[in-house]
C-alpha cells in the first residue's frame, strides 16, 4: 500500500509545516516574555520611569516609549494627508493610463531597503533639518519622523488608492448625477464608503513606522530623554528600536540590563502586532460592505 503511505506522509508533512509556521510567532512571544521576566520582576513599575542608567540599575523606558510615539505621530501626520490626497489624485483625477505607471513607481519606492533611507537621512535630511532650523545638530526626532513618513508613504498611497479605486463606479455616477462637484463626490460618498480600508491602510503604515529600526537609528540622535517642552521635536531623542539597535549587543546576556531591553522589544511587538491585526480586520471588511 505505498500510495496509502505517501498519503499519510504527505499529510503529516503539511501538518508539520503548518505547526512550525504557526509556532514561530508563539516562539518569539515566548522567548521575549521569558527573557523580559527578570526585568519585570526586578524593576516592576520602575520600568516606566524616565531614567535609563544601567550601571546604577535604573531601567526606565519612558523616554524610548515617548520617542517611538513621537516619531510615529509625526510620520503619520505627514504621510496621511499627502498620501491620501495622492491616492485620490491617482484614482479619481489622473487618467487611467497613468495609474499603473504611477503605482509601479510607488512600489519601487516601497522596495528601497530601510538602511538606504537611513543613509540618505544621514547624508542629506539631518543636514537640511540642521540648517533650516539652525540647530546644533540635525539628528532630531523630527528628522526621524520625516524619514519614516517617506518610508510609509507608498504603503498608505497604494492601499488607500486600492480602497478608493475599488468603490464601484455606480456610486461615482450616482453622485455626479446629482450635480455634485468632484470634491463633494469624493468626500461625501467615496471616502465614507472606502473608510474601513483607508483606516486599515493608515494602521498598517503606523505599525510599519513604529517597528522601523535602521532609518530611525541613524538619524534620531540617540539620547534617552523626553524633551522639554514635550512637543519640541527638534531635539535628539530615542525610540525603542534605535535603543535596541544600539545597545542590545553591548549588554551582558541574561543581565537585568539585557532583560530590560528585551522587555522594550516585547512592548513594541505587542503594540505593533495589535495594530497589524486590527488593520487586517478593517481591510477584510471590504468584501462584505457591498455585494
Amino acid at each position: 500500500m505505498p500510495a496509502l503511505i505517501t498519503d499519510k506522509v504527505g499529510k503529516n508533512y503539511v501538518l508539520f509545516s503548518t505547526l512550525i509556521s504557526a509556532g514561530v510567532i508563539f516562539m518569539i512571544l515566548l522567548m521575549l516574555l521569558i527573557y523580559s521576566w527578570e526585568a519585570i520582576t526586578q524593576n516592576g513599575w520602575q520600568l516606566f520611569t524616565t531614567v535609563w542608567n544601567p550601571p546604577a540599575g535604573q531601567f526606565g523606558i519612558a523616554s524610548m516609549l515617548y520617542g517611538t510615539v513621537a516619531v510615529t505621530v509625526i510620520a503619520v501626520a505627514l504621510a496621511v494627508p499627502i498620501g491620501l490626497m495622492s491616492a485620490i489624485m491617482i484614482s479619481e483625477i489622473l487618467p487611467g493610463r497613468y495609474r499603473v505607471m504611477v503605482k509601479s513607481l510607488l512600489e519601487l519606492l516601497a522596495g528601497i531597503p530601510s538602511i538606504i533611507y537611513g543613509l540618505i537621512g544621514v547624508a542629506f535630511f539631518s543636514l537640511w533639518i540642521g540648517n533650516i532650523f539652525e540647530l546644533d545638530t540635525g539628528r532630531t526626532i523630527l528628522t526621524g519622523g520625516i524619514l519614516l513618513a517617506i518610508m510609509i508613504l507608498p504603503i498608505i498611497i497604494t492601499l488607500s488608492e486600492d480602497a478608493i479605486h475599488n468603490v464601484p463606479d455606480i456610486y461615482r455616477e450616482a453622485a455626479f448625477g446629482l450635480g455634485l462637484y468632484r470634491h463633494e463626490v469624493i468626500f461625501s460618498t467615496l471616502l465614507p464608503i472606502a473608510r474601513a480600508d483607508i483606516a486599515g491602510a493608515v494602521l498598517l503604515g503606523l505599525g510599519r513606522a513604529m517597528g522601523e529600526t535602521m532609518a530611525v537609528m541613524l538619524v534620531i540622535g540617540s539620547i534617552d530623554r523626553i524633551p522639554s517642552p514635550v512637543f519640541n521635536t527638534l531635539v535628539p531623542g530615542q525610540t525603542i528600536t534605535s535603543k535596541l539597535g544600539r545597545e542590545i549587543t553591548e549588554s551582558a546576556f541574561g543581565s537585568v540590563h539585557f532583560s530590560s531591553m528585551i522587555f522594550m522589544g516585547l512592548m513594541l511587538l505587542i503594540i505593533v502586532l495589535g495594530i497589524t491585526l486590527i488593520a487586517q480586520r478593517f481591510i477584510k471588511l471590504r468584501s462584505r460592505l457591498y455585494e
Partner: protein, 282 residues
C-alpha cells in the same frame, strides 16, 4: 461660487500632494543612481573591502547577502508550500481558518528588529551557535514565510473544485491530487511570493545585524556556523562614517548594488506572475 472655488482648491492640493510624492521619488532615485553609478566599477564589484570599507570593493558582501537569502528561500519554500496546502486542503474549520489568517498576518507584521532579538536570544545565546550566516538565513526565512504562504495559498485555493473532484473520481488519493493537480499550480504562486519575499529580505538589516554578519575578513563560509559579510550591514557601517568621502562613496555604491538586487527580485516576481496569469487564462 464657493463650491467651485473649493473644487479648484481641492484639485490644487491633490496635484501638489502627488507632486510632492513624485519629487521625493525622483530625489531618492536620482541620489542613489547618481552617486551609486559613480562609485561602481568592475574592481568595486569584484574585490574585498579594505580600510573600514572605504577602499576596496564589496564582493564578499554581495556573496554573503545572496548566500543568506537563497538559503532562506530553500528553508522557507517547503515550509510555506506545506502550510499553504494544509490551509487550503485540510483546514476546514472556519475558526481555525481565521486563527491561521491572524497568525500569518501577525507574523508578517512583526517588526524586523524583533526577529533580530529572537535570533540573538534563541540561536546565539541559548543554542550557542555564535554569529552565523545560517542563523541569519533561518531568521530571514521566518520573516518571508507569510508572504510565500499567502501567495501560494491564493493560487492553490483559486483552482476550481471540479479539478479536485474529477481527480478524486479517477481514484486518486488526496495526496496524489495535491501533488499532481494542485502543487504544479501552487508552485508558481509560491515562487512569486518567494521572489517578493527575497526582495524584502535582501535589504533587511535589523534582523541580521546582531546574529549573522561580520565586519571584515569573512569570505566564503566554511561551515554553517560562520559569519559572512552582507550588503545592508556594510552600508550601516559606512553610513556611520558618512563624512569620510571615500566611505560615503562606497556606501552609495553598495546601496546602488543592493537596490539593483531588490529590483531584480521584484521584476522577476512580476514577470513570473504575468506568465502564470497568461497560462491560467488558457
Amino acid at each position: 461660487m464657493s463650491r467651485i472655488l473649493k473644487n479648484r482648491l481641492f484639485s490644487g492640493i491633490s496635484w501638489i500632494s502627488l507632486g510632492i510624492c513624485c519629487l521625493i521619488l525622483v530625489f531618492l532615485i536620482a541620489v542613489i543612481a547618481w552617486n551609486g553609478i559613480k562609485a561602481i566599477n568592475f574592481d568595486f564589484l569584484m574585490s574585498e573591502s579594505r580600510h573600514f570599507g572605504a577602499s576596496g570593493g564589496i564582493y564578499y558582501q554581495i556573496v554573503g547577502s545572496l548566500l543568506m537569502v537563497l538559503v532562506a528561500a530553500l528553508i522557507s519554500l517547503p515550509l510555506a508550500l506545506g502550510t499553504a496546502v494544509y490551509k487550503s486542503e485540510y483546514l476546514k474549520n472556519s475558526k481555525l481558518q481565521m486563527l491561521s489568517d491572524s497568525l500569518i498576518y501577525g507574523l508578517n507584521g512583526i517588526p524586523s528588529i524583533v526577529f533580530g532579538l529572537f535570533g540573538l536570544i534563541f540561536f546565539v545565546n541559548i543554542l550557542n551557535t555564535g554569529i552565523s550566516w545560517f542563523v541569519g538565513s533561518v531568521i530571514l526565512a521566518f520573516m518571508i514565510l507569510p508572504t510565500i504562504v499567502l501567495a501560494s495559498y491564493q493560487s492553490i485555493n483559486s483552482i476550481p473544485d471540479h479539478y479536485r473532484e474529477s481527480a478524486l473520481a479517477l481514484g486518486m488519493d488526496k495526496w496524489r491530487v495535491i501533488t499532481t493537480v494542485l502543487l504544479p499550480q501552487g508552485i508558481s504562486g509560491a515562487v512569486t511570493g518567494l521572489l517578493i519575499g527575497l526582495a524584502r529580505a535582501v535589504g533587511e538589516t535589523a534582523p541580521i545585524m546582531f546574529i549573522a554578519t561580520a565586519y571584515s575578513g569573512a569570505r566564503y563560509p566554511d561551515s554553517l556556523l560562520e559569519p559572512v559579510a552582507a550588503l545592508p550591514t556594510h552600508i550601516l557601517a559606512l553610513a556611520q562614517q558618512a563624512t569620510d568621502p571615500d566611505a560615503l562613496q562606497a556606501a552609495w555604491g553598495a546601496s546602488f548594488v543592493l537596490i539593483c538586487l531588490v529590483t531584480l527580485f521584484s521584476i522577476s516576481a512580476l514577470f513570473i506572475r504575468k506568465r502564470t496569469q497568461i497560462l491560467s487564462e488558457r
